[in-house]
């Protein structure tokens, strides 16, 4: 089509299509803020690309290839180092797809790689470019999409931190213009007006556009009523102030995050993807902040605040006073806080020995009793903006030695008995359960701990962050979780494990901190660190268990369903055995992480990434994956529903067609005829009250300009009023019916 030849309605079509593109962008724009989708601008570029290709109206056989090529180029640009034309990356892509396909078939959604997810998202955008073309230009029915866009933007503005003030104005302007154009186009079509010239069209559109802009401007500038109800976001944020797992006894829903108060646990919480800090590390490891020792029946308090040791060097060898049998792997990490919120302590890795910062005049303190590490600036406990560096010897806990430790606590362990404390009114069935769990297990502390750790997963406990019960004053938090609800998040699991261990006389304590976070590809905090930077969000706030083993030290355990124990346990045997062993028994993807010699380094990096996503995502803590996923699913579902709705008549028609053809019966004949009546009604041929079929058919035929409805009605009349069975003539009936259906549907 040459531009010169295009009529004004074509121009309107193009304008509509561009409008639809702008609306689609409004869908993608908030993703960067609401989810952790990086590089929304790349998606926007792809949208524009697809729309431009569609607009140019290339031949059917070439346009999809160009769009596909664009997609591949973008994938290459985001994920792969080799240039697009080297084609070397294609192999990696294939392996990626293969892994993801396997994960898909195995329904382990969490193992889908970022490449695959991005690919799917791009394909979605690609498809949207077709669909919007159809909705806006071909059928000229943009209203549903416009409405959906409004709902989407307003919902995001109301319930998330996304600020839609400007977006809603943009959407308003685009939408009203789109609706005006679409309506104009439809009127021209329907009323068979001679297609006006572009100049006339412009004359028509210009005043409307001016009205829209002026009203939008006035609306934007005009004073507005305050909201009639409190902003849910601030409510959510206020709830989040109490921090994850604090609850304050008030119940209700909190926002996930690190908090100080754990004396009243329970209740659901809302995801919060605010970044707490970025950290460099080679792999995601738990970040410990503190431990608590006294269980009250409702939460955790400290029985002993301990005495901190202060020094300026930041060297605290006793942070990790592991026994000699614990092998250590030197590692370093750097921390940079973004929005620490209520966190004023330094999260550290297991095995940390030294903490440092580039800022002068900062001293550090470490409290061995509470496990807290903090920096002191001007005699105040505070965090420095410049960040911290950590030196740690990552411990490999010797499993064999740990197995030799007797179950029960012995005096010789010299461990304060506060780590065996239990409330007096702890229901007996809790300890009974603990004994039952370990009844078939080798009698040693390690295997007992392992048995209780895996009990929750094996017994079908459910990980949930909403609808989590809060025990009443006379209920025990652990008892309620173990026996009544069996549903909860890390606090429930970790507290329950500690309590059960203590009931078996095993010293244990409750540890708090963060999970390892997620690889941050898009960040400028640690330039040059590549993919070894992890972003830790409020969502990553976590609690777990530490069990004491004499000669070894405090060993972390992870009872929460959906999370893996990040600690390494060595048997003193070959590394393969370790990998096959307990550490990663649930996760075959972990294996490549340790296999540094692999040829597929890059690929494996991706593998780790997805594995990390998995560990955290399955626990529901990772909003990035879930929201993106949810977004895609929602769009997909909405599209499907919309498509089914749009084509419902055709779908039902072909279904009835088949039925009538295969099983002609009184019922199918009646249904088929009445289906036609319904179709016609939808097309605006209303059946008047007191109108006979004959009269109706006559009127319909007059409108459609043929005699088919009368013909069909004659058959049907004979069927109903003459009570003939018609089966012998059903072919003729069917032929007429089919032609008529086609004719109506094509209108």
């Amino acid at each position: 089509m040459r531009l010169k030849d295009m009529s004004s309605s074509k121009w309107v079509g193009i304008a509509l299509y561009i409008g639809s593109m702008l609306l689609l962008m409004e869908w993608v724009l908030p993703l960067g803020q609401v989810t952790d989708t990086g590089g929304t601008h790349l998606f926007i570029i792809y949208i524009v690309f697809c729309f431009v290709i569609s607009l140019i109206q290339l031949p059917m056989w070439i346009a999809p290839f160009i769009k596909l090529a664009g997609l591949m180029f973008l994938l290459n640009y985001i994920f792969y180092e080799p240039s697009f034309f080297s084609l070397a990356w294609l192999g990696e892509l294939l392996v990626d797809l293969q892994l993801s396909t396997q994960a898909l078939l195995g329904q382990s959604w969490i193992e889908l790689t970022p490449v695959f997810r991005t690919l799917l998202f791009l394909i979605l955008l690609w498809m949207m470019s077709y669909l919007l073309y159809y909705w806006f230009v071909v059928v000229k029915r943009p209203f549903s999409f416009v409405l959906l866009t409004f709902v989407y933007v307003t919902a995001l503005d109301t319930f998330t931190l996304y600020d839609g003030n400007v977006a809603i104005v943009r959407v308003f302007i685009f939408s009203v213009l789109i609706l005006i154009l679409a309506n104009l186009n439809r009127i021209v079509d329907q009323e068979k007006i001679k297609v006006p010239s572009s100049r006339t069209m412009a004359k028509w559109i210009a005043p409307m556009a001016i009205v829209v802009f002026i009203s939008a401007a006035i609306g934007f500038a005009a004073p507005k009523f305050e909201p009639q109800w409190p902003d849910p976001v601030s409510f959510i944020q206020a709830a989040g102030q109490n921090g994850f797992g604090s609850g304050e006894g008030s119940g209700g829903v909190n926002r996930v995050g690190y908090g100080e108060h754990d004396d009243r646990l329970g209740g659901g919480f809302i995801m919060d993807d605010t970044t707490v800090f970025y950290a460099t590390a080679t792999s995601p490891r738990y970040w410990k902040v503190e431990t608590k020792d006294e269980y009250t029946g409702h939460g955790w308090v400290r029985s002993d605040e301990g005495t901190p040791t202060t020094n300026e060097s930041g060297h605290f060898p006793h942070i990790s006073d592991y026994g000699e049998s614990v092998e250590r792997n030197e590692t370093e990490a750097e921390l940079q806080f973004i929005e620490p919120g209520h966190l004023n302590k330094i999260p550290y890795l297991y095995g940390t020995e030294t903490v440092g910062t580039t800022v002068d005049g900062v001293s550090f303190y470490y409290n061995h009793t509470t496990g807290e590490l903090a920096s002191i600036i001007n005699e105040e406990q505070d965090l420095v903006e410049e960040g911290y560096s950590l030196e740690a010897g990552r411990p490999d806990f010797p499993r064999n030695e740990m197995r030799e430790v007797s179950v029960e606590y012995e005096e010789s362990e010299e461990m304060p008995d506060r780590y065996l404390q239990l409330p007096d009114d702890l229901p007996e069935r809790v300890s009974n359960l603990a004994e039952e769990i370990v009844s078939d297990v080798d009698e040693n502390r390690y295997d007992y701990a392992r048995a209780i750790e895996s009990y929750f997963e094996d017994s079908g406990f459910e990980y949930a962050t909403s609808d989590v019960a809060i025990p009443s004053d006379d209920e025990d938090y652990v008892d309620q979780f173990l026996f009544d609800t069996q549903r909860g998040y890390c606090d429930n699991y970790s507290t329950s494990m500690v309590v059960m261990l203590r009931s078996l006389d095993i010293p244990a304590r409750w540890a708090k901190g963060f999970t390892g976070g997620e690889r941050a590809f898009q960040q400028d905090v640690f330039p040059g660190e590549g993919s070894n930077v992890f972003e830790v969000q409020n969502n990553n706030a976590h609690s777990w268990v530490e069990v004491y083993f004499p000669e070894v030290g405090w060993v972390p355990f992870e009872p929460t369903v959906g999370f893996d124990n990040q600690a390494n346990f060595s048997t003193g045997e070959s590394i393969d055995d370790i990998l096959d062993g307990d550490t990663n028994e649930d996760d075959p993807l972990e294996a490549p992480e340790n296999d540094d010699q692999s040829d597929l380094d890059d690929l494996l990096d991706e593998g780790n990434e997805s594995e990390e996503d998995g560990a955290v995502g399955s626990g529901g803590q990772d909003s990035n994956f879930n929201l993106l996923h949810l977004f895609a699913i929602t769009i997909g579902t909405l599209l499907t529903i919309w498509l089914i709705y749009m084509y419902r008549s055709k779908i039902v028609a072909s279904w009835k067609n088949q039925k009538l053809k295969r099983k002609p019966s009184a019922k199918t004949i009646t249904n088929s005829y009445q289906f036609i009546l319904k179709l016609l009604e939808r097309e605006g041929y209303q059946f008047q009250s007191g109108e006979t079929l004959r009269e109706y058919a006559y009127n319909v035929d007059r409108m459609l300009g043929n005699k088919q409805m009368t013909e069909l009605t004659q058959y049907y009349e004979r069927f109903v009023y003459r009570e003939e069975d018609l089966i012998s003539e059903v072919d003729q009936f069917y032929q007429t019916w089919r032609q008529l259906t086609k004719q109506i549907l094509s209108k």
């Binding site: 009184a666 009445q674 009546l677 007191g690 109108e691 006979t692 009349e717 009023y721 003459r722 009570e723």
Partner: protein
């Protein structure tokens, strides 16, 4: 069956066309008259003199080769003037029955509301029962027997309006109405030389007519159509504008009329359209509107049309 039906339709069409040669532009009235004839009912014609009532009946009688008779009702007409009278024959020394005009096949009862109720009921009873009793002797009326009674709507003075129960005996009430100008001119043309009625030849025999009357009875009425008939009739009893609704006899009449109407349109089954078309003709003279309705200026026909419009038409089997 269908082919046969088409044959019948042709025959009926011939009949209609034959009558139309005399009656210009009155196809509806002709068709309705034939419906009544085929349904073995009678017609009440309410119209002014001179619009062709007699001509219609005569043309019909001539086209089917039937005996035509006419009774002009007057206030002093006696029942025996209708039914016939036994006269003493001195030669034979016995009473001889002199048949009245009612012994014809097609009877035009002109201005029926001018005569006394006694005479009216003599006619109406014989219409219903198809026989008369004179001097203790019962005599069957001719077969076919078809009465077309007229009543004058404007001349109410000195008339005896027919009671509702009597009106019920007529299958249809219809109005001829004046012809439109062009039709009237055509009529003048045709009657310029010889009156066309004189040139009319029969197109159907009496036997054929009787056969058709039998066939009409066999026209299929499905349950749904029956239900529709009853629905309409029972709605007349519920309508607030109607003081006295139609009787069950009206339901039967409506069904018969619908059957005959379907028949003349070449169908051996009735459709709601037949019922819908016939209902105002069959029911309008069987209703008594409330004074409110009359005060509002509503006619029987309007009330009925509204009512029919509101009645659901069955479009499924057995519904």
């Amino acid at each position: 069956m269908n082919q046969q039906m088409t044959g019948q339709q042709t025959k009926v069409n011939e009949l209609i066309e034959n009558i139309e040669r005399v009656m210009v532009g009155k196809r509806d009235a002709i068709e309705l008259t034939i419906v009544a004839l085929l349904a073995q009912g009678h017609v009440l014609l309410e119209d002014v003199p001179g619009v062709g009532k007699t001509m219609l009946v005569r043309a019909l009688a001539k086209s089917v080769d039937l005996q035509f008779s006419r009774i002009q009702f007057t206030p002093d007409l006696l029942p025996s003037d209708v039914t016939g009278v036994s006269i003493y024959n001195q030669k034979e020394m016995k009473f001889e029955f002199q048949p009245g005009p009612i012994m014809g096949n097609i009877v035009l009862a002109d201005e029926i509301n001018r005569t006394s109720p006694k005479t009216q009921s003599a006619l109406l009873e014989s219409m219903e029962e198809k026989h008369i009793t004179v001097d203790g002797v019962t005599m069957r009326l001719n077969d076919p027997f078809f009465v077309l009674a007229t009543q004058n709507p404007i001349e109410y003075e000195g008339t005896y309006p027919l009671p509702e129960a009597q009106l019920d005996r007529f299958l249809l009430k219809l109005k001829m109405g004046y012809p439109v100008k062009q039709e009237e001119i055509t009529m003048l043309d045709r009657t310029a030389n010889v009156h066309p009625i004189d040139t009319l030849t029969p197109v159907m025999t009496r036997g054929e007519l009787l056969e058709k009357q039998n066939e009409v009875r066999d026209v299929h009425v499905s349950d749904s159509v029956k239900k529709y008939i009853v629905e309409i009739v029972s709605n007349t009893r519920k309508n607030p504008l109607i003081q006295l609704g139609a009787s069950p006899r009206a339901s039967i009449a409506l069904m018969k009329a619908a059957q005959a109407y379907a028949y003349i349109h070449g169908r051996d089954y009735t459709v709601p359209d037949d019922v819908k078309y016939m209902a105002p003709h069959v029911l309008s003279h069987r209703l008594l509107l409330t004074s409110e309705a009359k005060f509002e200026g509503k006619t029987d026909k309007q009330v009925l049309e509204d009512l029919i419009k509101k009645t659901m038409i069955p479009i499924e089997r057995g519904s």
